[in-house]
């Protein structure tokens, strides 16, 4: 039985690793940490290219811009997998500040804190103040809404949000949608968006032009990475159905503390590394808990995701960089 399970896991892993076009015409590929190998969709044809370190400066007018996604800072965590998550978040900020093209803003895809404590949020806010990009857009992870159903999260980060913390905004012609899928989880289930949020989202995108690039960000993956570990969102298909008409959709998630990418039709799914601790590949350990690695390897498994938007190509390219 163990062998059979392992076989299934290997098969799933193989599918995720398969970077060819399969019979249904989907492109599936992995984005490897630190290699700078990037997949983009250009005119429906997948193009991979290695990003040069220095892509030249944006003049700030023509629409090209970049932003950085960070995730799972778990401030307050102090177990052997990373006794100093403040130092690694600071290293992520240093990394951001060293980028050749400074990002316009940051996205934090949740698990800001480890235990929803005010001092943990305070520490993250303080460290992020040192980033060159001053605007930070948050969505909550399950660790940010413990015991109070998201009340303290909303008090701090919920100034311009709807419902439990979802919202949208526009930057340089790109429409960003921040979603909450970590509340009201049902026994045995996965992440959940809920009817009210889905209804809001349908209205939010209804009047946008089909050519508008869309970026959706949420904590738990909006595609089913590995349901056995809860790595998926049960009603994400409905959310994605509202985005079918758009030519370019990028979905950015955290939660699984490792990079993974899948391209399916017009949608590119991407998960970011954590800045706190790595988690095992799906099914490769007894549980999805923190993975302890030799101290000298830790920072090679933590990192940030730099997302570049190139106007005209209507595509976004994600570059994962490890802290070391």
């Amino acid at each position: 039985m163990a062998d059979k399970n392992q076989g299934l896991i290997d098969q799933k892993w193989h599918e995720l690793n398969d970077d060819g076009v399969d019979r249904r015409g989907f492109l599936k590929c992995m984005a490897w940490a630190g290699t700078g190998l990037v997949w983009t969709m250009s005119g429906g044809i997948p193009v991979s290219r290695a990003f040069a370190k220095n892509t030249g400066k944006s003049d700030g007018k023509d629409g090209d811009f970049s932003f950085v996604q960070i995730s799972d800072s778990h401030m307050g965590f102090s177990k052997p997998a990373n006794p100093d998550v403040g130092a690694t978040l600071q290293a992520a900020v240093d990394k951001i500040n060293g980028l050749a093209q400074p990002p316009e803003f940051l996205l934090h895809t949740g698990d800001i804190s480890h235990l929803t404590k005010p001092e943990q949020f305070d520490t993250v806010d303080q460290i992020l103040k040192g980033a060159s990009a001053k605007d930070v857009f948050f969505v909550p992870g399950e660790h940010d809404v413990l015991d109070d159903n998201g009340k303290s999260y909303l008090e701090r980060y919920g100034k311009n949000v709807q419902g439990a913390g979802w919202y949208s905004f526009d930057k340089r012609g790109v429409h960003f949608i921040g979603l909450v899928n970590v509340l009201n989880l049902k026994s045995g289930g996965l992440g959940s968006l809920g009817a009210e949020q889905l209804e809001w989202m349908e209205k939010d995108v209804k009047h946008l032009k089909h050519s508008t690039p869309i970026v959706v960000f949420a904590h738990i993956p909006l595609w089913t990475v590995y349901p056995e570990w809860g790595w998926g969102t049960e009603d994400s298909a409905q959310a994605l159905a509202y985005l079918k008409k758009f030519g370019s959709v990028t979905v950015l998630n955290g939660h699984i503390h490792q990079t993974m990418q899948k391209v399916e039709g017009n949608v590119t799914f991407h998960t970011a590394m954590s800045t706190a601790f790595p988690q095992p590949q799906p099914g490769k350990a007894d549980s999805p808990g923190p993975m302890k690695v030799p101290a000298e390897q830790l920072r090679s498994l933590l990192g940030i995701t730099d997302v570049n938007y190139v106007r005209g190509q209507h595509s976004l390219a994600a570059v994962d960089s490890s802290l070391e």
Partner: protein, 119 residues
């Protein structure tokens, strides 16, 4: 931990008498396949409850201990009991005063499920 026991007060007197008799009788039960009386433990390891199904006698107090380095919760699916978030080595206890089947889960990691059977 505090336990919710308000419903006990609303029970009819004969039921309470019957329950007291059950409680009084249970310590003498010694057969292996009989549920244990006073206390029982559930360990949380590797994102799972062990044992996943626990059988206890009416009146038993069950204590959950989180032995993972990630916080978990213990939440009754039917709203009977609900722990605060439990970090490493923290415990939650609940006393089962009424026979029945009590499914529960971790509200942070809902794939984690368990059941307490009270007889």
């Amino acid at each position: 931990m505090k336990r919710t026991s308000t419903w006990v007060a609303s029970l009819a007197l004969p039921v309470m008498v019957a329950m007291l008799l059950v409680l009084a009788g249970s310590p003498s039960v010694t057969a292996n396949d009989q549920p244990s009386a006073a206390a029982a433990e559930v360990k949380i390891d590797n994102f799972s409850f062990g044992p996943q199904t626990l059988t206890v006698a009416v009146g038993a107090t069950v204590t959950w201990t989180n032995r993972d380095d990630i916080p978990h919760t213990v939440v009754s699916t039917d709203g009977v009991f609900k722990s605060k978030v439990r970090d490493t080595d923290e415990k939650f206890s609940y006393t089962f005063d009424k026979a029945g089947t009590y499914p529960y889960f971790c509200s942070i990691h809902p794939k984690m499920t368990g059941t307490v059977v009270v007889q």
